[in-house]
């Protein structure tokens, strides 16, 4: 495409700069996590793993990790249980008002989290569901179900319904078809929906700020409140741990799914 070598070099330089900008905070956080100072400075002047020790010594972070993990796990499960049947209905059945139902199911994606957080606080405070695990889980459910519906719908729409018809022809019942044909075909969508739901819930900050409290403070809220008053390398160390965790999750799933797919064909 590019004929002039000068143009090609210019383009490479531009792209490199843009990528550098895009990845700058990650690179900085990574380097910063090995700094030995007690305040935020860059570049660091010493090398130590103290920041990593501090993360696990901090009681707020430890309990935050627990709250976020439990919340994200239960939220993911509930999002799958409620979202997958909806995706099945939206892709495999024809009924009146299907398009309207679909946009209703996806509409929470359009509402800003700051508004949803306040709205959930107003609804949950008198029950009272604020500062409880169930409050957090329900608050996260509303924003994760649409993602599950969307990814699973996309996977189901991509799967060939003729395979299901063939299974029916061969005498399989509806549940058997669902269990043996439809859901396996949609498995990549199910898994990616589950991962997205888990990561969204684990990372959810703004909604959690409104509905969480002293006894159930998820990790992002604990980090946000820590960063507001102090800035030391322990936050960087924590961020690096979280990045590695989510990258590992994605790689593992990609590998296992890829393996499964290659085994089947």
């Amino acid at each position: 495409m590019n004929t002039h070598p000068a143009g090609r070099i210019l383009r490479a330089v531009l792209l490199t700069l843009l990528y550098l900008f895009l990845l700058a905070p990650i690179i900085v956080v990574f380097v910063e996590s090995f700094d030995d100072s007690t305040y935020l400075r860059f570049p660091p002047e010493g090398f130590t793993l103290d920041a990593y020790r501090q993360v696990f010594a901090n009681a707020d972070f430890r309990s935050g990790i627990q709250v976020s993990a439990v919340t994200a796990a239960v939220t993911t499960l509930l999002a799958l249980v409620t979202g997958v049947p909806a995706a099945l209905a939206l892709t495999r059945l024809r009924f009146r008002g299907r398009d309207a139902v679909e946009s209703a199911f996806l509409s929470p994606l359009l509402v800003p989290h700051i508004v949803l957080g306040l709205a959930l606080l107003v609804l949950f405070a008198p029950i009272p569901l604020t500062d409880t695990y169930w409050g957090l889980i329900l608050a996260h459910l509303g924003v994760t179900v649409p993602y599950v519906v969307r990814t699973v719908s996309a996977a189901l729409a991509g799967a060939d319904p003729r395979a299901e018809e063939a299974a029916r022809t061969l005498g399989a019942g509806r549940f058997t078809v669902l269990r043996r044909v439809t859901l396996p075909a949609a498995l990549p969508g199910l898994v990616s929906g589950a991962i997205i739901a888990f990561l969204l819930s684990f990372d959810e900050t703004v909604i959690s700020l409104f509905v969480s409290g002293q006894s159930t403070r998820p990790l992002p809220v604990a980090v946000l409140q820590y960063v507001e008053y102090r800035s030391d390398p322990s936050i960087a160390a924590l961020s690096v741990c979280l990045v590695l965790l989510s990258v590992a999750a994605v790689v593992v799933v990609e590998r296992s799914l890829g393996l499964r797919r290659s085994l089947r064909s």
Binding site: A86, V122, R174, S231, S246
Partner: protein, 323 residues
């Protein structure tokens, strides 16, 4: 084919005598149960119930809260009045907040589009074997908590940060440049945080872009700039428009970056809603600001749909003219 399928299927008893009764309603287009309506209701109910309680009801409750009257000390008088709305709309402070929110949204959207477009265009057109790696790198920041990335930007933009330290080491500036605790810092960090969203939205909207068209234009004598302006840009406009909507809407409602990088000196609707609700315990005013933010969202989405339709018309019009 489909007829035989259902007929054969019906000779097998349904699991637990499910709602499947006869094949009478089965058309060629609905290979499933005879009463799709009832099955659909059954399948949609759990999700609908979940969203009713975690999304629809809260929104109704917050709109209702906006019609209450705040009393001193966080107390609320249950009533039905637009008094809180008029109180907010008469207050110059809130207009300033709305103005700053829009200013932040516009600045972030413009810069994000400018920076994301070359990357998206490159990723959409390249045939390099590094393509999937570069694609992964471009969207990798999405995997990382925005709190962590904002923290990274604090380390870059702060008075003791990377930029100011470098500038001072090179003796280019006397004091630190004010890059954090103000609008500049919030814009810089927000642009980076929304860039992956913009890149993804652009690439998925670049469907009309085909290398043949560019080659055709070039072979007909158009220079590179003309190809870019007359072929590439119009064909990628739908993707750019979607990215613009996404980034604008996200930055209008962003909370973490304005709060952390703004250092309590940048007031936007999101930080104001939180402060009113949690610090001042003034739920009615927080609810009014939320409703105003939703109205703003509504206006933006309507404008987007209009622009999209206009774009669509232009495309079909051009096609019609060329035939």
């Amino acid at each position: 084919m489909s007829g035989t399928a259902t007929a054969a299927g019906d000779t097998v008893p349904g699991p637990k005598g499910g709602p499947r009764t006869a094949a009478s309603g089965d058309g060629a287009r609905a290979p499933r149960g005879p009463r799709p309506g009832r099955t659909a209701l059954f399948l949609l109910a759990p999700g609908a119930l979940a969203l009713l309680f975690t999304y629809a009801m809260p929104l109704v409750w917050v709109v209702r809260m906006a019609l209450n009257e705040p009393l001193d000390g966080g107390a609320i008088r249950q009533t039905l009045t637009f008094g809180t709305f008029t109180q907010v709309l008469r207050d110059g402070h809130y207009w300033k907040v709305i103005g700053q929110t829009l200013q932040l949204g516009v600045l972030v959207t413009v810069f994000t589009l400018l920076l994301a477009y070359p990357v998206a265009l490159f990723l959409a057109r390249t045939t390099s074997r590094w393509r999937s790696l570069l694609m992964a790198l471009a969207v990798a920041p999405l995997l990382i908590s925005s709190v962590a990335r904002t923290f990274g930007w604090m380390a870059i933009l702060g008075n003791q940060g990377l930029i100011n330290k470098t500038l001072q080491a090179l003796a280019l500036t006397d004091g630190p440049l004010p890059l954090a605790n103000n609008m500049t810092g919030v814009v810089i960090a927000s642009v980076e945080i929304y860039m992956p969203f913009a890149i993804l939205a652009m690439i998925s909207g670049f469907g009309r872009l085909e290398p043949e068209l560019e080659r055709a234009a070039a072979s007909l004598g158009a220079n590179r700039l003309a190809v870019l302006r007359r072929v590439v840009l119009p064909l990628t406009l739908p993707g750019v428009l979607t990215a613009a909507l996404l980034v604008f809407v996200l930055s209008l409602s962003g909370y973490v970056t304005p709060r952390l990088i703004g250092g309590g000196r940048v007031f936007v609707l999101a930080t104001e809603i939180y402060d009113e609700a949690i610090t001042s315990l003034n739920w009615p005013v927080a609810a009014v600001l939320s409703v105003l933010l939703l109205v703003l969202f509504g206006i933006v989405i309507v404008l987007y749909q209009r622009a999209q339709r206009a774009l669509e018309r232009r495309f079909t019009g051009e096609k019609g003219a060329s035939r």
